[in-house]
Structures are given as structure tokens and as C-alpha cells.
């Protein structure tokens, strides 16, 4: 058996077991309505987490994601309020901006040989600051096109709604899976995560790949920002503080090694869904404090860190045997 696949199986198993436990207590939780909401409510997080997965697979980290999502919301809201532009060109402009922002971070990380942590920390403050520059208040979005996007859904059997946002997230996951696992770029990402020096010796273009990795994360953060703007119908510079940490948590619970080189995009989807499920459970229960979400996520993170360490040990034992 391939040891590398175990974390993915563990993630899926944990999600299914958690769902089973929830179902035993609240039979209503097993319905397409809950599943539809799970996808819609976590769409922006899932989209950002796909970008984060690629970054973490390369052994990096992107702390700017939450700020970029907030910037995206404010940018869209302010532009729609102050100009007569249609949302679609605004989306295109925004995605161009966040992609360039990510690419610039990647270029700095490579050119200065700086830790991604530092560079994206600066990016986090920068993006948040620019969001404040645009507005200090929550700006509502009341463009008719937005309403259309918000209300677009496909009615699943059982009256659950598969919304546009949910579909967008699933498409992002599918696209991320292809990118990470079925392209030369994706293999280069794994190669850099496995060892940058060795990857360079094997002819992987380190600089270009690093720029592309962070550009991709910037693009996904921009897309997550659009999803968040559609979801909340507003732009607010204080929104989504710390979402990058949720995304990192989802990636790790999804079975990706935080030090890079091993993991799957599909696992990240289940990481996001598991975190969403915990929240749903708390809503169903009604008496629990919502902080329990954090506690359970913390425990899950520990579990996965220990699991990864254990797998590493098993791998070494297998080889010496």
C-alpha cells in the first residue's frame, strides 16, 4: 500500500465518521439541504484553501489570503457603487490585481531568498491596509447581477440547493486536482516541496515555479473574495480576518504535510467540509458555544500532525526492512 495516500484516506474516514456521529444524534443532518448549505457556506474558504494547498505542497505558506479576500470584497463593492461598471469586468480586473499581487510575492520570495512567511506577512498587512484605504465602512452591493448570482441554484432531490457558489468551489477543487496532480507544473511543485536544492539539480525552474505558485494562490484568493462578496452581498475591510489560518488548518486536516512535498487537493476539500460539519453540528445542537469549533479543529490538527509523524516513521521502517 502506498503510505503517501494514507492521510487522504484518514481525512475522508474522519469526515464520514463525524457525519455518522452527527446523524445518530440529529437524523435531519443527513439531507441534501445540509450538504448544499455546507458547500455554499464554505465556498470561499474552500476556494482559498485550494490555492493554499498548492503553496503548502511547495513547502511555502501564504498569510495574505484573508486580507486579499477582504480587499476583493471592498474593491468590488466600492467600484460597483462609484462607477457604472458591470460586475464581470470588475471581477476580471480584481483577479488580474490579486494574481499580480501573488506573483509579486512569489518573485520577492525567490529573488530575495526570503522565507515565504515573512514576505506574505508583509503582504497580509499591505492588502488589509489598501482595503481600509478604499473604505472604512461596510459597503453593501445591490447590483441586480449579484442578486442573480446569489439566487442561482440547482434544486437537488430532497429540496437541497446546490448553489452557484457551491459549484464554483467544486470546480476549483477539480481544477486544483488537475493542476497539482496532472501537470508538469504540479510535479514541479511537489519536487520543490520535497527538496529545493535537489529539485534545482534535476532541472526544475525554481524561480518561475515559485512565482506561479504564489500567483495561483493570489488568483484563488481573489476568486474566494468574489465568492465571499456574492455570499455576503457586501464589502467590509474588517472581514475575513484570520481566514488564511482556517485555510491552512483545512489543508493540514486534509492530509497535506505542512513541510511540503506530500498531500492532495481532494483531501483539502474534505478538510474544509469537516470544519464546516463541526460548525453545522453546533448550529443543530443550539446550546454549545461556537468556540467549540476552534477546540475541535485544534484537536484535529494535533491528530494529523501526529499521524504524519507516525507515517514518516513507518516509511523509514519499511525501507530499512
Amino acid at each position: 500500500m502506498n503510505v503517501r495516500r494514507l492521510p487522504l484516506y484518514a481525512t475522508i474516514a474522519i469526515f464520514l465518521v463525524a457525519y455518522l456521529l452527527c446523524w445518530l444524534q440529529f437524523p435531519n443532518i443527513l439531507s441534501t439541504r445540509v450538504v448544499g448549505n455546507l458547500l455554499t457556506d464554505n465556498a470561499y474558504l474552500g476556494i482559498a484553501a485550494v490555492g493554499m494547498t498548492v503553496v503548502i505542497l511547495s513547502g511555502g505558506i501564504d498569510l495574505s489570503v484573508g486580507s486579499v479576500i477582504a480587499f476583493a470584497g471592498v474593491f468590488i463593492a466600492v467600484l460597483l457603487r462609484d462607477t457604472g461598471l458591470h460586475p464581470l469586468p470588475v471581477f476580471a480586473l480584481l483577479l488580474g490585481l490579486t494574481t499580480a499581487f501573488g506573483a509579486a510575492q512569489g518573485a520577492l520570495i525567490h529573488a530575495l531568498a526570503m522565507p515565504a512567511f515573512i514576505v506574505t506577512l508583509a503582504g497580509m498587512f499591505l492588502a488589509r491596509g489598501v482595503a481600509y484605504l478604499l473604505t472604512l465602512d461596510s459597503v453593501p452591493i445591490d447590483h441586480p447581477f449579484f442578486e442573480t448570482l446569489q439566487k442561482a441554484y440547482w434544486l437537488m432531490p430532497g429540496k437541497g440547493r446546490l448553489t452557484l457558489l457551491g459549484v464554483l468551489m467544486l470546480l476549483c477543487v477539480a481544477g486544483g486536482m488537475l493542476l497539482a496532480h496532472r501537470t508538469r507544473f504540479g510535479t514541479n511543485v511537489f519536487a520543490i516541496g520535497g527538496g529545493q536544492g535537489t529539485a534545482r539539480m534535476m532541472g526544475v525552474p525554481i524561480g518561475r515555479t515559485t512565482v506561479l505558485i504564489y500567483a495561483f494562490s493570489g488568483f484563488m484568493a481573489g476568486l474566494a473574495g468574489i465568492a465571499f462578496a456574492i455570499y455576503t452581498a457586501a464589502g467590509y475591510p474588517l472581514a475575513t480576518v484570520g481566514v488564511e489560518l482556517n485555510a491552512i488548518a483545512a489543508v493540514v486536516i486534509g492530509g497535506t504535510l505542512l513541510s511540503g512535498g506530500s498531500g492532495t487537493v481532494l483531501g483539502t476539500l474534505f478538510g474544509v467540509l469537516t470544519m464546516g460539519l463541526i460548525q453545522t453540528y453546533i448550529v443543530f445542537d443550539g446550546t454549545l458555544s461556537s468556540w467549540w469549533t476552534k477546540i475541535v479543529i485544534g484537536l484535529l490538527l494535533f491528530l494529523f500532525i501526529v499521524l504524519q509523524k507516525g507515517l514518516l516513521r513507518i516509511g523509514q521502517l519499511q525501507r530499512t526492512a
Binding site: N2, V3, R4, L178, R182, T183, R184, G186, T187, N188, F190, A191, G193, G194, G195, G197, T198, A199, M201, M202, G203, V204, G261, S262, G315, Q318, R319
Partner: protein, 501 residues
């Protein structure tokens, strides 16, 4: 000739690493490149593979002058290299490793089937029956090494440089690797083989080139070359050389400690070693023969998997360096720059380091006391520094070495291991260090001195242990200790006993 390097020169600040070296490689031959540390082997290889830019000379491949700019460029030209380790990525599958950068694609996506087929094709003829879709890390080092060779040969295809490929392989794996090398030789590749293991060199090589101090010393046919002569070429000594002059005998007391069947699989075969109080035990052997490995298991830097260390009071725990230090052991490693000194810290801080670690961080040594300690050692060891606050990195090699000695002397250990204490320091400092060794021993300390400088060992040692192929093969005492006897013991055990008699 397939590959010719003509009067290659490479300078580093302060040293001439390659001094007009000429090296020729024919198609269909295995050419061993031998030499001790600092001989210029790795510099030559790095010039050939484009990792270094040469300062002079030319490289001719297939009759055309070439100028490799990087390892990737050298590979395109036809020169591939496989190093001792870190050639490939253990977190990727075998197929991904083999096809990285050249994955077959369909509709823009990499094709798993295509990669599998290409990988199998690349591995054909290597006698490996492995699942190419498993992670490379799941396979043994030998298999990884062969996969690395397959990749290098596929990408370059003319010249294959094997840099210490067998260093972490066992005997069966070495045989497997050599099978592959012989097949490649038959296919007409030119293979450069760098190794410290003379047995392996004789087993596989057609010709042997010896470098020493950046110079080309000799190129000869391997068949008919005498081991003793080869060792002499590498060490640069003639057998007629002076025997045992200027030796200092120390007043060795009773047994201080004894290692019984101590060993670590794959690094050093179990050995017995007894050290007496106030004695200098020398350790001789070629690079990679197991000298440093012996020191590391004694000090706990590598955990031993057999045997024990005992003194009169009973067993001593040397499972980690911290425990070895607690039992009064010290170890000044071979590579000062990476393992010994901390260049940015001052002389004072470097000297106080081990003592502080020993006391525990909860009980800091007062600054005034550190200063007193540092000034005391600066005077006693004659460390040339403007003052105790000077960063150690700015001192000369000899003075850095003295700072390391001071660090251990401050601990007042009963047993100190010095690995190449005089490497890279000038003649004056060399004599100083030897004087210090004698002083320390006179004070009742016991020393294990590892050195490639045979005269140095002859001068300071009361006994010399000779190590070959990761095994302690001979022990010379008293009048037996001559450079001649040591060289013979390094070359072959039979010769050593002859010399001893």
C-alpha cells in the same frame, strides 16, 4: 578520447584547488579518481559538471571544446553525475523522478500511462524489477542510486560521473551497483568512479588517476598496480622515510576506559578499544575508512547499535553527545566551519559554549567569569586575537582550532577526541597544536587523535589504531609506530604484520 580535461586550474581565496590537472576518459572504461581530502577530486568533478567555473585550462568532449555552465548544461552536453546522496526526490514516485521535466503529455495533462512506459523504458537493462508508481523513498538507497544513474544516463548518455556512489551501501548492494556499471561500460559510456574504498576501486576500474594537493600525480592501469604503491601515491610518502624520529612517549597510567564491541551497522564494524590515562591514541586510515565514524560512536554523535563503553566504575552512557559530555568526554570535529566554531560569536562565547551547555541554561556563567576564562585560555594557548570579544570567524584557522581546544579544556574532560586537529592550519600553528596535545596529556587527560598526517601521528601517539573499510585492522605500539608501518597497514593487513615484525 571521449573526455579530456587539459591543464585545468581552479583558484579559491588562499588556495590553488586545481593546479594544471589533466584528466582523460576513454569511451567504455571505468576510470577511478582517487585522492585524500583536499586533493582536488571534487573540485575537478565540479569543474567538469559546471558546478564551478574553471579559471584555466580546457575541457574537450568528443573532440569538441565544451564549457559547461551549470549541471543542467553539462547534462545536455552529455556529462551526467550521480552523487552519494540527494540525487532524486524521495517524495515523488520512481516514474515521476525519472521523467521529471520530460513527462509525456496528452491534451496538456501529464499522462500516467506515458510516464509509466517511459520510466520502464529508462529502467530497462538495469536489472531492476520495481513498481515505478511507488514513492522512490520506499526503496533502498541502492535502488535509488540505480534509478539516479538511469536518469543521468538517459539525459546525458556519454559520460557518467559517480561520486562516492557506494558510501552508504552494503556489500550485496555494491555488487548490484557494479553490475549496472559494467553493463554501462559495455554500452560504451565513459565512467568516472570516485571512491574511498580501494577494494571497490580495484574491483571495477580499468584505469586509476591519483590527485594530491590539487595536482595530477599519476594515471595508471588498475591491473598490475600494487595497493601499497597506490596508497603511497595518495599519501605522497616513500617507504624509505624516517622511522619514529622525535617521538614523545607519555607516562600512560592505568586504563581509563574501554569500548567493547562498540559499533554501528553500515558505519563502523564493532571494535574494542582501550584508552589509558594520560595516553595519546592515534587513529590512521584513508578518508572514509571509519576513523570519524569511530569517534562519532564513542561520543554518541551516532548512536551505537552494539557494544558498550565502560570504565572502572561500570558502564558509561554515550548514547548522546550530551551524556558523553556529562561523563567527561569531549570531541573537536573534523570540519571546524560547520561542526565546531560558531563564526559570528566571539572568542569568549565560543569558549564558554560547552561549559554553559554542561551547567544547564538555568545557571548562566557570569560574564566576568566568562571573560576571565577566555583571557586565561587566550594566554595559555597563545590564541592570536585582539581580544575576547572578536568574532571567531575572523581569526585564522590555527587560532580557530585553538579556540575549539580551549572550549573543551574549559570543561576539563578526562577523554578528548581530536579529529584532524591540524587540518588547514599553517606550520607554526601546527607545532603549537602538537605542543598543546603533549601538555594536555601531561596533565592526565587521555586523547584520541585522528589524522591524515602520518608524521604527526608518529610524533604524538603512544599507540596507533589503523582503520580500513570501516574496520579496525591493526594496532601499532611503541617502536612499531612508523609511517612505513602505518602505510602498509592501510594498504593491506598482511603487509602490516610484516612491518610489525
Amino acid at each position: 578520447m571521449l573526455l579530456q580535461a587539459r591543464s585545468l586550474t581552479k583558484r579559491f581565496p588562499g588556495t590553488l584547488a586545481l593546479d594544471g590537472v589533466t584528466f582523460e576518459l576513454a569511451a567504455g572504461e571505468v576510470h577511478a579518481l582517487l585522492g585524500e581530502n583536499g586533493a582536488g577530486k571534487s573540485t575537478l568533478i565540479k569543474c567538469l559538471t559546471g558546478a564551478y567555473r574553471r579559471d584555466g585550462g580546457e575541457i574537450v568532449l568528443d573532440g569538441r571544446p565544451v564549457d559547461p555552465q551549470s549541471t543542467a548544461h553539462a547534462q545536455e552536453l552529455g556529462i551526467g553525475t550521480v552523487y552519494q546522496e540527494v540525487n532524486l526526490l524521495p517524495n515523488l514516485t520512481v516514474a515521476e523522478n525519472l521523467t521529471l521535466g520530460r513527462q509525456p503529455r496528452r491534451w496538456g495533462l501529464t499522462s500516467r500511462r506515458g510516464m509509466r512506459a517511459l520510466a520502464r523504458e529508462m529502467l530497462a537493462g538495469y536489472g531492476l524489477d520495481i513498481d515505478v508508481e511507488r514513492d522512490l523513498g520506499a526503496y533502498s538507497v541502492a535502488v535509488q542510486q540505480i534509478v539516479a544513474i538511469a536518469r543521468a544516463v538517459h539525459l546525458s548518455g556519454k559520460v557518467l560521473i559517480l561520486d562516492e556512489p557506494t558510501a552508504s551501501l552494503d556489500a550485496r548492494e555494491v555488487a548490484m551497483l557494479f553490475d549496472v556499471v559494467r553493463r554501462l561500460r559495455e554500452r560504451g559510456l565513459g565512467i568516472v568512479f570516485v571512491s574511498h574504498f580501494l577494494d571497490q576501486v580495484f574491483a571495477i576500474s580499468d584505469r586509476i588517476t591519483v590527485l594530491r594537493n590539487g595536482r595530477h600525480i599519476a594515471t595508471t592501469e588498475a591491473a598490475g598496480l600494487d595497493r601499497l604503491r597506490l596508497v603511497n601515491l595518495m599519501l605522497g610518502r616513500e617507504l624509505e622515510q624516517a622511522t619514529g624520529h622525535g617521538r614523545t612517549a607519555h607516562d600512560a597510567g592505568e586504563e581509563l576506559l574501554r569500548a567493547e564491541r562498540l559499533g554501528k551497522r553500515g558505519r563502523i564494524a564493532p571494535f574494542d578499544l582501550s584508552i589509558r590515562k594520560g595516553e595519546v591514541v592515534g587513529m590512521a586510515g584513508l578518508l572514509g575508512s571509519g576513523r570519524t565514524e569511530t569517534a562519532e560512536v564513542l561520543f554518541g554523535a551516532t548512536a551505537a547499535d552494539s557494544g558498550a563503553v565502560k570504565d572502572r566504575a561500570g558502564a558509561i552512557d554515550v548514547s548522546t553527545p550530551a551524556r558523553a559530555i556529562a561523563s567527561g568526554f569531549g570531541f573537536a570535529p573534523e570540519d571546524r566551519k560547520t561542526d565546531g566554531i560558531i563564526g559570528d560569536l566571539s572568542v569568549r562565547e565560543n569558549i564558554a559554549l560547552a561549559l554553559q551547555a554542561h551547567r544547564g541554561w538555568a545557571r548562566p556563567i557570569p560574564r566576568a567569569e566568562q571573560r576571565r576564562l577566555a583571557e586565561d585560555f587566550i594566554r595559555r594557548l597563545d590564541i592570536r586575537t585582539p581580544g575576547p570579544e572578536k568574532p571567531v570567524g575572523q581569526l585564522s584557522g590555527g587560532n580557530q582550532q585553538k579556540v575549539i581546544l580551549a572550549r573543551w579544556l574549559a570543561m576539563n574532560p578526562r577523554f578528548l577526541i581530536l579529529d584532524e586537529p591540524t587540518r588547514g592550519i599553517d606550520v607554526g600553528a601546527h607545532a603549537e597544536v602538537l605542543r598543546l596535545i603533549n601538555e594536555m596529556v601531561a596533565g592526565g587527560m587521555s586523547l584520541l587523535v585522528i589524522s591524515s598526517e602520518l608524521e604527526e601521528l608518529v610524533t604524538v601517539s603512544d599507540r596507533v589504531i589503523v582503520v580500513r573499510d570501516r574496520r579496525h585492522v591493526a594496532e601499532l605500539t611503541g617502536q612499531e609506530i612508523t609511517t612505513d608501518a602505518i602505510v602498509r597497514a592501510i594498504a593491506a593487513p598482511e603487509a602490516a604484520t610484516e612491518a610489525a615484525e
